[in-house]
């Protein structure tokens, strides 16, 4: 895709994407933990908003992965 990018530049972009993906996955872990805690306590009002937020996180991660796959190695 971007043949003008040097390898150092693509590595820097990769590290940024890696940090973002890691942050989003940690956010999903927290979402799942908080959701299970609320659900087991009888509060089911957060289930679908949390599921929607987690799905958005997954789509964001796949978007980042798609961009990553387009980067020249």
């Amino acid at each position: 895709m971007n043949r003008s990018l040097t390898r150092e530049q693509t590595t820097t972009i990769l590290q940024g994407i890696l940090c973002l993906v890691l942050f989003v996955v940690l956010l999903q872990v927290w979402l799942l933990t908080a959701t299970m805690n609320a659900w087991m306590g009888g509060d089911d009002s957060v289930l679908w908003p949390a599921a929607a937020a987690s799905a958005v996180c997954a789509f964001l991660n796949f978007g980042l992965l798609r961009y990553l796959n387009r980067l020249a190695v």
């Binding site: 993906v21 289930l47 987690s54 990553l68």
Partner: protein
């Protein structure tokens, strides 16, 4: 830094390939490239873990929706009011036969019922009407008898309250009130 014979290959010490030892010339490893590939693969692995998290969240929502109909308890007679001693307690099962509950009668006009399963790890709580509390002997948890809320010990959630109705001198359980806070 790149060697003419191995374009793109960079040795860890940065020297050209003709100045490298023989073993490195035989097995040239491009470390920057290796780092790039390793981090890219780790990123892919993280993204793959992201999908199961979202699927589990949706599965929990679907499971909750499927259980919603099963959670509608029916009315069930527990005991005649005259048979419940004042200042005492009795046990019953509600809504299913594997759901033990406690019925408390601290005074003549007050009836309270809670699930007997401790919200920590499910041990059976025992009543102490004199001290106005319910006690879990497994991990020394105490719940307030008038609200079901945990007052000490490891439990963080209150005991589910059983809704009661007095119909012509017979106490009926009519529902379960689960409070998360």
């Amino acid at each position: 830094m790149n060697d003419a014979a191995n374009p793109g290959t960079v040795a860890p010490n940065g020297l050209p390939m003709n100045e490298q030892p023989a073993w490195r010339r035989d097995f040239p490893i491009d470390w920057p490239q290796d780092h790039f590939v390793a981090r890219r693969d780790f990123t892919r692995f993280l993204v793959l873990t992201s999908l199961p998290f979202a699927l589990v969240q949706v599965a929990v929502g679907v499971l909750n929706w499927m259980r919603r109909d099963r959670r509608k308890p029916t009315s069930k007679p527990i005991a005649a009011l005259a048979d419940i001693p004042i200042g005492g307690a009795t046990t019953f099962c509600y809504p299913e036969k594997h759901d033990p509950c406690l019925l408390l009668r601290p005074d003549e006009n007050t009836l309270m019922a809670y699930s007997q399963k401790c919200t920590h790890l499910g041990c059976a709580v025992t009543p102490n009407v004199d001290k106005n509390c319910l006690y879990c002997p497994c991990h020394k948890g105490f719940f307030a008898a008038d609200t079901g809320r945990p007052v000490s010990g490891p439990a963080r959630r209150p005991l589910p309250r059983i809704l009661l109705e007095n119909r012509d001198g017979v106490v009926h359980a009519v529902g379960v009130e689960v409070n998360a806070t």
